[in-house]
């Protein structure tokens, strides 16, 4: 465990030695941002919309009390979405999609000697392959989390109003009630940390794959598992420190 962590730190250090030119890294980062970001929009949209909808329905079910205003449903959907569901659930979903893709891709490159081909050419393969992924994830994840926040609240609105649990006016009142802008900052900080954890852990796992197709599959699974555990630990630590 400790040895793996040390190896991980050395791997992260190797990303910043013998870097290729800024132009090449910029191009690679844009490519990776498109792969990580654009290709994840649909899954993030579907998951966050339904999570917002389910949250609204369940809160409405639990707040079936005449003394509690219906606008509280909108307030709770907003708080839960911004503080926890959008950044954490989106990151867990992305750990499954992006993390497994990164680990599988790098693992395949490793076992088919594509990484060796880069090294023989005198290119720092870790820096060339991994650094753009980490930078792209850090840039793109906050955007996806903002999208997830918006769509979750929209999903809650649609579910609440279409099911007749509350009126549009009540929901919007709840959404606007006691809004704390810092919560958005907190969510974005979480998304950046989670982006780094997912991309770096998945890259580390994939880059150190050896063997064959079976090992690549195992690396993908390990990347997702380790990323999710890291997200949950990071979530707690950040909440403890920043709230």
């Amino acid at each position: 465990m400790l040895q793996s962590f040390g190896k991980y730190l050395l791997f992260m250090q190797s990303l910043f030695t013998r870097k290729e030119s800024a132009k090449i890294l910029f191009g690679r980062t844009v490519d990776e941002a498109i792969l990580i970001g654009i290709n994840s929009i649909i899954i993030v949209a579907i998951v966050s919309t339904f999570i917002g909808a389910v949250t609204c329905v369940q809160v409405a079910y639990n707040l079936d009390n005449a003394f509690i205003p219906r606008s509280t449903i909108g307030f709770m959907v907003r708080e839960m979405t911004i503080l926890e569901l959008a950044p954490t659930i989106t990151s867990i979903v992305l750990a499954g999609k992006v993390g497994s893709s990164i680990a599988g891709g790098l693992g395949t490159m490793q076992i088919t000697e594509q990484v060796d081909a880069l090294e023989v050419m005198g290119i720092n393969s870790a820096s060339y392959l991994v650094l753009p992924k980490v930078v792209a994830a850090i840039l793109v994840f906050p955007m996806l989390v903002i999208l997830a926040m918006f769509l979750s609240i929209l999903g809650g609105y649609l579910a609440g109003t279409l099911s007749g649990e509350l009126t549009p006016q009540e929901y919007i009142t709840g959404i606007r009630d006691q809004f704390i802008p810092y919560n958005i900052t907190f969510a974005l900080i979480k998304s950046v940390v989670f982006a780094f954890l997912i991309s770096s852990i998945s890259s580390f796992t994939g880059y150190h794959t050896s063997g064959g197709a079976l090992e690549v599959g195992a690396a993908s699974t390990a990347a997702v598992t380790n990323s999710v555990i890291a997200i949950l630990i990071g979530d707690f630590v950040l909440a403890y420190i920043l709230l």
Partner: protein
């Protein structure tokens, strides 16, 4: 020229290379020959720096490579072209992008110059028109050709091939071998090929290094390899029936040649015998000889 000196490498308790030394000459195809698991690929990776040897050194044209400064090693690596066993083409790139990649990364060429060079290299390996294909759309032999084109694109000085004809049919394998040989001679580069294919040895092996259990057991030319008396090498060479038959045919041919030679000598002796006698008869007064020319010859020789 590449020199390796006393290369040792072990993985845990398993010793893979045990003091391998040798000189790989420029303009020649040098073959690392041996059975599976004898350390050929590990030695190749030690030479190109993908694996660090536990002990020993590698020198490229007099420049020390192993454990040298990073920038010097990088400089040497940029002169290296390598064809991997599985071709190692970048899956996400087209054939032309694969060949262009080292030019983009290692040279200052303009886009136009790169395109010209890519077209030239693909033509050189007989793949004109395949520019836009993805690696998944081409055959194993074509992948090897693209790998060779990518290796030679930045004007490499050293070419390394790890089992270039593995998994190919004999005809395609021969074409790949010939292509490597042609390129080696045409550009006067130092080529090292890892193989266990005796066809490659016979077709293109200028110099052969035979590895056995991590040690270099023999080195020599392809003409010498069939006549060694090293048991391990002979076991390896004549493991298949085709080679045994070839050896048998060769031995029979040699035997026939020897017999032919002997017969020719005898015939020459016979032919030369009367003339000697004639010389003798002319040199000395000829006595009456009722026994004929043979007796005369014998007499003449005795006199000499």
């Amino acid at each position: 020229m590449i020199e390796i000196h006393n290369i040792h490498k072990a993985f845990g308790d398993k010793k893979v290379l045990d003091g391998v030394s040798g000189v790989f000459e420029t303009g020649k195809t040098n073959l690392l020959l041996g059975a599976s698991g004898t350390g050929k690929s590990v030695l190749l990776k030690c030479i190109v720096g993908l694996i660090k040897p536990d002990l020993g050194s590698v020198t490229f044209d007099g420049t020390y490579f192993t454990n040298n400064k990073l920038d010097i090693r990088q400089e040497i690596r940029r002169k290296i072209g390598m064809l991997f066993q599985g071709s190692a083409l970048f899956d996400s790139m087209t054939v032309e992008e694969n060949v262009e990649f080292p030019l983009k990364m290692l040279t200052e060429m303009s886009k136009e110059e790169r395109r010209e060079r890519v077209d030239f290299c693909l033509r050189r390996v007989g793949l004109e028109g395949a520019n836009k294909k993805m690696p998944s759309e081409i055959s194993g032999g074509m992948k090897k050709r693209v790998g060779i084109a990518r290796a030679i694109a930045p004007n490499c000085t050293y070419l390394f091939c790890d089992e270039p004809n593995s998994g190919l049919d004999p005809q395609t394998a021969l074409k790949i071998d010939e292509l490597i040989k042609e390129i080696t001679e045409e550009y006067n580069i130092t080529t090292i090929i890892v193989t266990h294919d005796m066809n490659s040895v016979i077709e293109i092996g200028d110099k052969i290094f035979f590895l056995y259990e991590g040690k270099k057991l023999w080195e020599g030319t392809r003409d010498e390899i069939m006549d060694t008396d090293i048991k391990e090498l002979n076991d390896f060479i004549f493991a298949n029936r085709l080679m045994r038959d070839a050896k048998k045919v060769e031995e029979e041919e040699r035997e026939e040649e020897r017999e032919e030679e002997e017969r020719r000598h005898e015939a020459e002796d016979h032919a030369s015998a009367p003339s000697e006698a004639t010389v003798q008869t002319q040199a000395a007064p000829q006595p009456e000889n009722p026994e004929g020319p043979t007796a005369t010859t014998q007499t003449g020789r005795d006199k000499v």
